[in-house]
């Protein structure tokens, strides 16, 4: 109920209430008639559990939680909802069948529900939560929730089946060898830098291409432009050669390295500091010093102070 309430806009609730009142009036009228014809015993319709779900099949990566939403209704024949009889409420035990390595349970609201009271002719929204506990091969896994009357001798029972599809997970990650996301470069030179490509997925990943975004005019190359295949869990060291042009202004620049395969990719941002080549630093300071000394000497020689 809560979920519905939460999901429906207020006016919908009002509409439902109004509708049910409108529908109840003839029902009450009939009930009066029934009372009047109490003698006529109507053969009771067989009770049944009706399940309803919109998404019986869900797909997710290994390790993720599957949540199946479904409704269950406890009713008999086409008896209209809302009419209470002697057997107005019944408790059902819920059992969930799941494959090995999984855990699954039905939950109502936020709590796990091993059993549930269902009112006659009412509808309840429930969830089946399933989590693969250990690594699962990609594929389809059947889950089944069975509702069984807790009343002794009552054979009323119903079940709903779900399929959890585990897709293959391809996860590659790009990191730097040092772990730091910054480095220093010298312009006009081939600077080598090591990246680590790791396959974090359960299967090998094929056809990974490496690319980069760098400031205009920079030359970046990888020792392997394409990686044919990387086994699950494998780490590959990639040597990047970065050549900022001779005329690169010293300072900080951002670079992005990207590893991408058909079904997975990762990128890493690197802050590179282009340093003034030592020689130019020295020459620069040298010029300043010479000029200042020069002006000072002119002052000393020519000034009358």
């Amino acid at each position: 109920m809560e979920t519905i309430k939460r999901k429906l806009p207020v006016f919908f609730i009002i509409l439902t209430l109004t509708l049910s009142i409108v529908l109840m009036i003839p029902g009450m009228l009939f009930a009066q008639e029934d009372e009047a014809t109490e003698e006529e015993i109507v053969e009771p319709e067989p009770e049944e559990l009706i399940f309803d779900t919109k998404l019986p099949k869900l797909q997710a990566k290994d390790g993720e939680t599957f949540t199946f939403n479904f409704d269950v209704a406890y009713k008999a024949g086409d008896e209209p909802f809302g009419i209470e009889e002697g057997k107005s409420e019944k408790t059902f035990d819920i059992t969930v069948d799941y494959p090995a390595g999984w855990i699954a349970a039905v939950a109502s609201g936020s709590t796990e529900a091993p059993a549930i009271n269902l009112k006659f002719n009412s509808r309840e929204s429930l969830r089946l939560m399933a989590i693969p506990l250990v690594q699962q091969e990609p594929g389809e896994y059947e889950l089944k929730a069975t509702f069984k009357s807790a009343v002794e001798g009552d054979t009323l029972e119903g079940s709903i089946e779900f399929t959890a599809v585990i897709t293959a997970t391809y996860e590659i990650s790009l990191t730097t060898k040092t772990g730091r996301l910054s480095t220093e470069l010298t312009s006009g030179k081939d600077n080598h830098y090591k990246l680590i490509l790791e396959n974090k997925s359960s299967k090998s990943v094929e056809n990974i291409s490496l690319s980069s975004t760098e400031p205009e005019g920079w030359q970046v190359s990888f020792d392997k432009e394409k990686i044919e295949s990387i086994e699950a869990g494998e780490k590959i060291e990639i040597d990047v050669t970065i050549n900022p042009p001779e005329k690169t202004i010293a300072g900080d620049y951002m670079m992005t390295f990207r590893a991408s395969s058909e079904n997975s990719n990762d990128n890493i941002e690197l802050r590179v500091t282009v340093e003034t080549p030592t020689i130019w630093g020295i020459v620069g300071i040298g010029i300043i010093v010479v000029v200042i000394i020069g002006v000072a000497v002119i002052f000393a020689r020519l000034g009358r102070r």
């Binding site: 205009e216 202004i249 002006v295 020519l302």
Partner: protein
């Protein structure tokens, strides 16, 4: 000839001992250093990518608050020229030194030549030293050495600056020769500077707009308007100087800033940097006029001074 050197040395000593020199030097250095600071802040955006002339951006890049070095230079060079020239002759006359000096066995032109040379030397030292200091700071901070072409451009820039300063110095020396009072000569020189630098462009604009309406949609009219305005403002050496140094220091497109550009032209233009030879050809007329003006101003002062009777009263 020796007497020129004697006068020259004494004048240099005077300049280097004077407070006006210290004030000017401090002013130029502060302007140069602060504009370099701003340039270094903004040079990455200006000198994007594959620019071949990164080093020159040190001089041409400005910021929101402070202008570029060349803007300061356009402003300060006339001031230096005027300050070192306006009292060259009349203050010597008024102090009674000129008669005494001219009674020594020297040619009269030694005095004016020595003074002019000393002024130019002082100006050159100021300009050259700050340009070199900026270059040193630039080299140190951006780590990009200038190409030989850039070095040439910088030297030509210094050269033009010196001649431009020489023009203003010649002009103010002229006033110092023909005017008795130093206050009169400095005010006249500054008035002319203000007129040429600030008012002439306004007047040029007004005249151009009076002749050809600026609202005219016709491209020909707009070009005509621009041409008139531009021709008038080119009377001012300050316009010529600005053009010369911009063309010289902005090899990519600098030369396009001073002529009307038609959209059709622009769309077909590939903005490649001019070679130094091309840049020099572009600035040649400006350069010649500036050098000629400097020489003419000095020559007039020279002739008048040579014929002038120097009385000590």
């Amino acid at each position: 000839m020796r007497s020129i050197l004697t006068v020259y040395r004494k004048e240099l000593t005077d300049h280097f001992s004077s407070n006006k020199f210290l004030v000017l030097l401090a002013l130029i250095y502060i302007a140069g250093l602060s504009s370099t600071y701003v340039a270094l802040q903004n040079i990455r955006e200006s000198a994007s990518g594959l620019s071949k002339h990164v080093f020159l951006y040190l001089f041409t890049t400005g910021g929101d608050v402070l202008p570029s070095f060349i803007t300061f230079i356009i402003f300060f060079i006339p001031i230096i020229g005027i300050i070192f020239g306006f009292d060259a002759i009349n203050s010597e006359k008024n102090s009674g030194n000129l008669s005494r000096v001219l009674s020594q066995p020297i040619y009269r032109d030694s005095v004016i030549n020595g003074k002019f040379l000393a002024g130019i030397t002082t100006l050159s030292i100021i300009i050259t030293s700050i340009v070199f200091i900026i270059s040193g700071i630039g080299l140190f901070s951006i780590g990009v050495p200038p190409t030989s072409e850039e070095i040439l451009r910088i030297f030509f820039f210094i050269f033009i600056c010196i001649f431009y300063g020489g023009f203003w110095m010649g002009l103010s020396i002229l006033f110092s020769v023909i005017m008795e009072k130093t206050a009169a000569s400095i005010l006249t020189a500054i008035a002319i500077w203000i007129f040429l630098m600030f008012f002439l462009p306004i007047i040029a604009n007004a005249i151009a707009n009076a002749v050809v309406s600026p609202e005219s949609a016709s491209v020909a009219d707009q070009v005509r308007n621009y041409t008139i305005e531009h021709s008038i403002s080119r009377i001012s050496p300050s316009t010529l100087f600005t053009e010369a140094i911009v063309i010289l220091l902005v090899p990519v497109g600098g030369h396009l800033l001073f002529r009307p550009l038609l959209e059709a032209e622009v769309s077909q233009m590939i903005l490649n940097p001019l070679s130094i030879g091309q840049s020099l050809i572009q600035v040649w007329p400006q350069l010649v006029v500036i050098v000629a003006l400097a020489i003419i101003c000095f020559a007039i002062s020279y002739i008048i001074f040579m014929r002038q009777e120097i009385r000590s009263t």
